[in-house]
Point group: D2
Chain length 433, copies 4
């Protein structure tokens, strides 16, 4: 039974798992139930598990929620059936997991990566939305799997089972990398810094969906992801009575507003695409008090890491000068980051050939230019830097709305194609060198 | 028994009432328990009561809370002992009350005014704070009588009892005007528009505290209050993915930030004091989405109504142009306003003389320049326009912290002086013309 | 004698002519001496001349100098030897010229285009600068041929003589289009609107220099030129004494500064390169007077005409809103514009082949990406829209400094290659279809 | 013959002198002909003259013109009749003069001050303008006595002659202080720093005109002048090609524009009047080059020196932060300054009394609130600090247009009143103590 036949036979299991995950979405660094589920399944399948602090450089984590938020999410996970032993290991922002199965001492190490976190989106309850109609939409307020990470984990677990079933036919080692907090590009850097891909020869990242026009197709070796940095800045000034002593103000709102306009005005870069967006701004405490606080969340992107660095350096300069201009201080923190997604041309070409052989895709493109960012980039860059090969694949699907939209949904049948492809890729490369 | 003797005898009652009011602070338009308490007391004392829609031009109310907030506050008031009959009358933002007692057909109409609402401040629980130490600090989250309006109502009710007790000695009519929503200058305009001072010959407004240096003193005929307008503006744009289609954005945050800086840059006025403050700004929904919404709360002030009008006209122009600049729309609403407090010189002089005669004040000043605003200004202006006399008095007190501060407190003994003064003023003017 | 031999024989003439033009640079719309010289030479060679209003849509001219400036330039041209008859025809901003020679009734019409204007640059008098050393640097204050248009005209005149000499061997018609005011992209639109390329089957534009790395090379079919618009905006407000009556100000400087920052902050376009630059800003009249005037010169660019249109529309919105914000008016005029340079692939390929056959270029590239703009784009677009073929060629040269630099210079020997190439191209296409 | 009779007899002389000065206006630090004329007259009258570097702290001069401009003005002065000996002494920005006459060893030192510079205004040639009609309007391009300093000097010279004529009747010492560069408040500080008023017991400053409503009146002890500082700022960035390498820009225009808006947005001061005005801004060199330079001229004012200092400190902070924000540098220089004009109440009262006794003024006011600034403030402050008395008097006149207007003119007859008043004041105080 090849991977396609295996995947077809397991369709019901895939759908059931995906729907359970979809119903219990957990935002980045809070994926306690999700990670515990993966750990349980993979342990049962005979994988070696490294989890939590074993696979994370804790200092390299970005954009962690508050302790209180993490604690509440841990308690909820247990209340919703998570194994407390695993929640303890993953607890307080350590929801990372690497499952390894060594088939032989001599072969290559092949890695597949899945992200697992959800979005801060209130899922639609419209009857046109299939998860609502079928009763598996999110039961968590303002959380939704609106980017398909529920599907990613389901596929990785399907792949895990297929490989475990066929372990006698394989050589080398498979590594399943289950990464927290991809939204906001906050999680991969800490796993990469912990060395989880340092021994990987062949690396595959996958994303479902992206563009309706890719439905039924596969795109690989994607150059369209931009490097990005996510930055939080909070200005601290001094509040004064707006009528009685305005001259005593150190006006944090003026600092923030001056920063916002000048950030947006950072000069375009001649070497390629650049982006800047101040997404949120909150300032002040009351109408008749001069604003002593202002905080903003922004992101920058660049077609190259050099461009992204240029944008980031300009951001810092502008934020600091805006604070100085109004006698305020500013605290700047990096809330996430990703370099450009690198791809190995040879590997991508081989993926294409194999995909064409499988005969399950309407079209196999060499690349698709998207415009988003993806912290899987840390893994692909590291693997390639150390002499391995890596590629990032987009598994097209007939998405019902754009990613991050309350009506986002994919075609569940595409999970079959994903598992079939990944299974075949594993079989191709898990042989003695 | 003169008014001073009466006030001294009733000190315990004053303190008990003030502390009960202090413990149950209610923000503007939500003073259901407070107003019901006043209505009950004044009814018992034999006053004619006009309440709610009878004494409010409902369309002239500014800065009303949402229906849901009002409903919750009504339910809480009843739960905390308010008479449901009165809550029904005052319900949904109609917490205004005029209590009248006619002593004779021929004499003048003399009015005293009290405001009753609390501030959006979390009261201190520090042991240095007397209300905390004595156990009567606010039991309502983020609400506190931090401006002394609990004291104002207590004094007016004390005055009411003194006058009712002495009604046979008086001529003319006394009017006790109990006004909601002074904070944010939202309430007086609607009472004035309903005509509640149209028949008033002599009008007195009073405020306790203001400045520690006035402790034990009286200041009247104050020219230091500024005209003001409170303005809310909300920008509506269009959100786009910050990485994939930034050019589709209609960036409401850029509109708001451009407005904020230019508002602050409105040219000073050569004719006197002007002020502008954007107190709060909230914009955007997420880091990687271009901001489609932004809202700001601002206020302007002017030494004269002309200057305030100049500032207001400039505000509108700037807000609208900032929206247009970024292809957004903007909705501008007036959330409060007050003209300059006018005073009748003759009346103020007579108040001084009487205050000096009473011998209870350390000092009696002709004026004190503050810098705040006060919507009692609507009443004083209307009375003077119609040929009456009006003045606004500051009853100094040894305040423990600035107004609106979590540690704000007054010296309760000053209530005695307040009732004594108001009682004596009533006696002086409530005689046949 | 083929075109290469012809060009080599005429090297001294080319150098003499180029140096005379270089010594007498004339900015856009002021090329009276230059155009008169071209007209005189081409008339002598037997070309039919159409000039001035015959080949310009006068209303489509952009960025004309003032009458006074034009009059002075006309007088100077005559003083420097221009034929007054031609100056009269070209006078007051009509310095356009089309020279035609019909070889037969049946063949194709092949056009070559040259621009002729100089830059607003003060030429270097450094001995390292060859024109200074050789005594032919500009004798006109703040004017210099710092972009090679002196070379362009010299080559076109050399080509004209070669074709006239060989007219018996040719069929069809050659059109030499001599265009004013390319700097600031102000002149081509008016010639195009007058229909000068409506009958052209094959069109060639040429530029010398561009990049030192192209020395000795040829690049054609260039996609690197951006569409552009040049915009002037002048704000009119109202001035007041800054100390005595600031509130009466309608502050044009504030309007302009708000515009500048927001212009720079126009959102990047996801479809390709965009640019914006406010190059100059002048505002105000005196330190103690509120500024009633402000004027700015800006330009925008786009990788596509769609992007350029997006930028231009945003510019107008921002400029108008900035004026409205400060109760000013704004007058916006287009001072220049160019679409994207279109190229015919087939023609470009044929040019490459011919260039390679000639054996005079170190390298022949298919394209070179520059980043500037060029109003020759009007001609290439029109020719292609009407079914003809067009290409724009870059004739590399060992430039001594970037274009528009006081030290800019080219290698005069490259004129030989230019005339040889254009002569060969003319011979190739000027045959019966 | 008293001072009034003297002044009436000398009316023709006053008018002739004033018209000659009016016809030859000289801007600040360039008053070579004017100062030479004064020096010549005063020498002839027997005064001791200290001039140039003797009465200036050269380092304390502000806002000096360039050497070239000063040299040209010196040459013009000589061409227009100035004594070269004096031009040499006053040359290159040393146009200050103190003329002293000691009547006795024991009496007080009484000082009168005149300024002498003209405005950068093109005088009207309208027949409604008396100087034009009578043929004595300015013969210097863009220079005009549009503030009455020609009148001031004429009156001081008239006073000088009156006192010289009556020297036997006087005791003590008279000091005539002739100050350059009052426009832009640039000159007084350097004379004060040189100690010219350190020995003065009684000091009088005078200005003609100010307000049409003061025609025929006298106002003294004026509190209406504001402290002020004049500031020049020039930003230096780095220019890049706007299309080819915008990211290399260090955009001085963006720095300047950000500064301008934030300067205008400096919070109002609760203690009194504040002002800020950026009067001129120039930025950039060409449309397609990112701006590497920007310069602005601004002024601030304050009702008190404390407020002016607050404004100045905020200016510096904003200018420096704006430069830092765009990686530019900024050079900030003080181009002028004046504190608040101090007045001695006793002296002012005595002036009033004397003025009333003279019977030549329609009205004598104690003060008039203007709104401008005046560097005579340095002298009045210094005299009062050292224990003397000082006052600043406004000599009303029927002015034909506001000061600094091309149509400004005064009523020449008012010079009679000025000399009469100053003469009488001198006589009153120049007696033994």
């Amino acid at each position: 039974m090849n991977s396609l036949e295996f995947a077809r036979q397991h369709t019901e299991q895939f759908i059931a798992r995906r729907r359970d995950l979809h119903k219990h979405p957990e935002p980045g660094w809070l994926e306690y139930r999700t990670a515990a589920f993966a750990a349980t399944v993979l342990t049962e399948l005979g994988y070696d598990i490294k989890a939590g602090a074993e696979v994370l450089d804790l200092d390299a984590r970005m954009g962690l929620p508050s302790e209180a938020v993490m604690k509440a999410a841990m308690e909820r996970a247990i209340a919703e059936g998570a194994d407390p032993k695993w929640v303890d290991i993953f607890g307080y922002g350590k929801t990372a997991l690497v499952a390894t199965m060594k088939f032989s001492d001599d072969g290559p190490t092949v890695a597949f990566r899945s992200d697992i976190d959800s979005n801060d989106v209130q899922e639609s309850d419209s009857p046109e939305h299939m998860p609502a109609r079928e009763g598996f939409s999110s039961i968590h307020e303002k959380a939704m799997h609106a980017c398909g990470h529920d599907v990613h984990l389901t596929m990785i677990l399907g792949l895990a089972e297929y490989l475990a079933t066929n372990k006698d036919k394989l050589q080398g080692t498979v590594k399943l990398i289950i990464q927290p907090a991809e939204e906001g590009v906050r999680g991969a850097a800490a796993m990469e810094a912990a060395g989880v891909v340092d021994d990987v020869d062949i690396f595959f990242g996958t994303h479902i969906g992206i563009d309706k026009n890719l439905a039924g197709c596969l795109a690989c070796s994607d150059p369209g992801f931009l490097a990005t940095s996510k930055i939080d800045a909070s200005f601290q000034g001094y509040s004064a009575h707006a009528g009685a002593s305005p001259e005593q103000a150190k006006n944090a709102m003026l600092a923030a507003c001056t920063a916002v306009i000048n950030l947006q005005a950072i000069a375009r870069h001649s070497k390629g695409i650049s982006r800047v967006n101040v997404g949120t701004l909150e300032a002040g405490t009351g109408r008749n008090v001069t604003p002593d606080v202002a905080s903003l969340k922004l992101e920058i992107r660049g077609e190259t890491t050099e461009i992204n660095d240029y944008m980031e350096q300009r951001c810092h300069t502008i934020l600091e000068a805006a604070a100085a201009m109004h006698d305020c201080t500013v605290n700047i923190t990096k809330a996430g980051s990703a370099p450009v997604v690198m791809n190995s041309d040879t590997l991508a070409t081989e993926v294409q050939e194999l995909a064409n052989e499988l005969g399950i895709f309407k079209r196999v493109d060499f690349s698709y230019s998207g415009g988003g960012s993806e912290d899987c980039a840390y893994f692909t860059r590291r693997v390639i830097e150390l002499g391995g090969q890596a590629t990032y694949m987009i598994l097209g699907s007939d998405i019902k709305a754009p990613h991050h939209n309350p009506l986002f949904d994919i075609d569940e049948k595409d999970m079959i194609h994903g598992v079939a492809l990944m299974g075949a890729l594993a079989e191709k490369y898990l042989q003695s060198k």
